[in-house]
Subunit: 205 residues, 2 copies
């Protein structure tokens, strides 16, 4: 059994753990933590239920592993915000990267949204250790741009919240968006133009 003093993980170990985590991403993001069952994850992964529990200690272990493994991907767009780049361009590119992520990784967006919505019971430590330092760092960068008169004086913390909210909305509330925009041929493009216009105008000093 893979526990305690880890040996090197075999090829099968890696492949099956990956299959399970990918299946779990599907199931958790669609049904929430409590709504997801090991049966669904097992079926989606093409493995038996006890075999799932051979690779993970239990349902919670799968969920926690998933959240912490995806955290890096999730924060990557913000990591790339470059203090030495052109402020306007940097922020608008960040908005664009987040919007692209909402389109390309909606499961991940919904997984995090569901976890936070319920008070982040299994992610709170990660928020403190991984997200907060990065957030503070980038807020400082934005502050310095404001102080230098490069962008309009906005509250950096709340500016970032607005960017997160406006972009992730398209993944998290997709069910509502699709009812309201109808059969739009290129909703993503219209959203992209809208957000560029909106944040672009807002940032001008």
């Amino acid at each position: 059994m893979p526990d305690g003093t880890q040996k090197k993980p075999s090829r099968i170990q890696k492949r099956n753990r990956r299959k399970i985590l990918d299946a779990a991403l599907d199931v958790f993001s669609q049904n929430g933590y409590r709504g997801a069952t090991l049966d669904q994850i097992a079926a989606e992964a093409g493995l038996s239920k006890p075999n799932i529990l051979y690779y993970f200690q239990g349902k919670e272990d799968i969920h926690v592993t998933l959240l912490s493994q995806l955290m890096e991907t999730w924060l990557d767009p913000l990591v790339e915000l470059d203090p030495d780049g052109d402020p306007q361009t940097e922020i608008l590119d960040y908005v664009q990267r987040k919007l692209d992520m909402a389109r390309d990784l909606p499961r991940e967006s919904r997984l995090f949204a569901g976890e936070i919505l319920q008070g982040a019971p299994r992610m709170a430590p990660n928020l403190e250790t991984a997200l907060k330092p990065l957030f503070d760092e980038k807020c400082a960068v934005i502050s310095s741009w404001i102080d230098a008169g490069k962008i309009a004086p906005l509250d950096p913390q709340h500016l970032i919240f607005s960017i997160w909210a406006a972009t992730q909305h398209y993944a998290d509330f997709a069910a509502q968006v699709s009812v309201l925009v109808g059969a739009d041929t290129d909703s993503h493009h219209r959203a992209s133009v809208h957000l560029s216009t909106m944040f672009g105008k807002m940032l001008r000093p």
Copy 2:
């Protein structure tokens, strides 16, 4: 039993149904649909579990009743957007009402967020019949303001999405916000100033 051909609901009927719905709002918004149990709802309402099922046909009935009863409250701020008012003021006041609602009714916000996040399985009909017509109507109002040159040319649909997203974020992602802003003495006020600045600037023709 209260079913089929309804008699007039007694005082006790009304009071207990209200107690149950209020308890259910607590429990559903905190744990999601599947995460909520009749036991929790019963305990929170101060009634026995079978008594809950005397007033409602089942768990789903409670959830659906809750969603449709709250829909009106939820849409009210948008209903109030006045076509004959000053465009700038109307939209900024709408933003403010939505932000106040995120503060005052976070349970309702999270209930809807959770439902939509999981594809609106029990609310899709309501979205079509109640939300969509109102949304279309108010988009037309905003379009007319743009055509009259009263506000900047923005995509009305996506403008409304951005308003919803930015305001509801403070209720739906409160767990994350509170980690990131720390012990802010008046986070609501800072959010309010930020959103006024942001949308105000964006709307100027």
